[in-house]
C-alpha cells in the first residue's frame, strides 16, 4: 500500500497507488495518509483512479483519514471506479465527501472556486 503526495495549484493531492483499499491494508492506508498529509497546507483530494475495489474496512479508513485532517480542512474524492462508486452510494458516503469524476475536474473546480 503506497500513497504519494503532491501539490497542484495549492491543493494537496494524495494518489493511492494500490488496486484495493481493503481489510488487509486499512490500517496502513490510515498511517500512510497521516504521514503524507502532515505538511499539507489546505484541503486534500484523494485520487482513487487506481483503486478498483474498496470494502467497508477500507471505507472506514477513508473516513478515519478525513478525521485526521485538522479542523477547517476538507477531503474530496476523485476518479472513483465503478465498484468504489457503488460502495459510496450504498453507504451514503457520497453525501459526506465531495466527489469528482476525475482528478483534473477536482483541481479545475478548486481553481474556479479560488478565482
Amino acid at each position: 500500500m503506497n500513497l504519494s503526495f503532491e501539490t497542484r495549484q495549492g491543493v494537496g493531492i494524495v494518489h493511492v497507488e494500490h488496486p484495493r483499499i481493503d481489510a488487509s491494508v486499512a490500517i496502513r492506508f490510515k498511517d500512510r495518509f497521516r504521514e503524507v498529509t502532515r505538511d499539507a497546507p489546505g484541503d486534500v483530494i484523494l485520487d482513487l483512479d487506481q483503486v478498483e475495489f474498496i470494502d467497508s474496512s477500507g471505507l472506514g479508513a477513508v473516513v478515519a483519514a478525513r478525521k485526521l485532517l485538522p479542523a477547517g480542512r476538507g477531503l474530496e474524492l476523485a476518479a472513483l471506479q465503478p465498484a468504489v462508486d457503488r460502495v459510496m452510494q450504498l453507504t451514503r458516503m457520497n453525501t459526506v465527501f465531495p466527489i469528482h469524476d476525475t482528478l483534473d475536474a477536482a483541481v479545475r473546480q478548486r481553481d474556479r472556486a479560488s478565482d
Binding site: D22, A23, D55, R66, K67, P82, R86, L90, T91, T95
Partner: protein, 174 residues
C-alpha cells in the same frame, strides 16, 4: 467437417460442427449452464483478498454483467471479513469454506466456518449508521459491512449447525 466457434448473445461459446447437408438450427436463446465454485481458505485478511481475486476471475466467465460481478464481490468481501474479524477473533485463526453457484436468475453464496457463533437476534445492518448532519469527528468508521450485504442480497440466512456457522446469501440477477 469444419468446427466453427460463435459467440452467442449471452456470452457463452458454442461449437457447431458443420457437416454436409446437415441442417443446423441455432436456438434463439441458449440456456445458461449452472456454474459453481468452491473454495477453502484460511481466515485471514490476506487470504480473503487472494480468494476474492480468484473469485473475481471466475465470475468473469459466468456471463454476468460488470455490476453483477461487483455486487457479488462486495457481498462476499463483507461476509468473509466478518468471519475473519468476529468468528475467529484470535490469532489462532481457522478455515472458511465458500461455495458460490450461479443459476439462471440468482447467485447463491454459502459461507461456513467453525468459529464463534453470532449473537442471537436479528442480523445486524438493518439501518445505516447515522451520518446526516453529524460533525466530522462523529462520522462512523464502521457498521457498513452488514448494511452492504443487506442492500445487495434478496435472501440472507444465518444458522448455527452443530459447531458450524452457516451464512447463505442470494443475489438476484436481472
Amino acid at each position: 467437417m469444419t468446427p466453427l466457434t460463435r459467440r452467442s448473445g449471452s456470452g457463452t461459446e458454442r461449437q457447431i460442427s458443420v457437416m454436409d447437408n446437415t441442417p443446423i438450427t441455432v436456438p434463439g436463446k441458449c440456456p445458461i449452464a449452472p456454474a459453481r465454485l468452491r473454495l477453502d481458505l484460511e481466515a485471514s485478511p490476506d487470504a480473503v483478498r487472494a480468494a476474492l481475486l480468484d473469485i473475481g476471475d471466475r465470475l468473469k466467465t459466468w456471463g454476468l454483467s460488470k455490476s453483477q460481478q461487483t455486487d457479488t464481490q462486495i457481498v462476499l468481501a463483507e461476509a468473509l471479513n466478518n468471519v475473519v474479524e468476529h468468528a475467529y477473533p484470535t490469532d489462532a485463526g481457522g478455515r472458511i469454506r465458500v461455495e458460490i453457484s450461479r443459476t439462471e436468475h440468482h447467485i447463491d453464496c454459502a459461507i461456513r466456518d467453525s468459529g464463534t457463533p453470532m449473537s442471537e437476534g436479528p442480523l445486524p445492518g438493518a439501518a445505516l449508521p447515522a451520518i446526516a448532519a453529524t460533525a466530522v469527528q462523529d462520522l462512523p468508521e464502521g457498521g457498513f459491512g452488514w448494511v452492504l450485504i443487506r442492500q445487495l442480497t434478496t435472501g440472507l440466512r444465518y444458522c448455527r449447525v452443530e459447531d458450524e456457522n452457516r451464512l447463505t446469501m442470494r443475489l438476484r440477477l436481472g
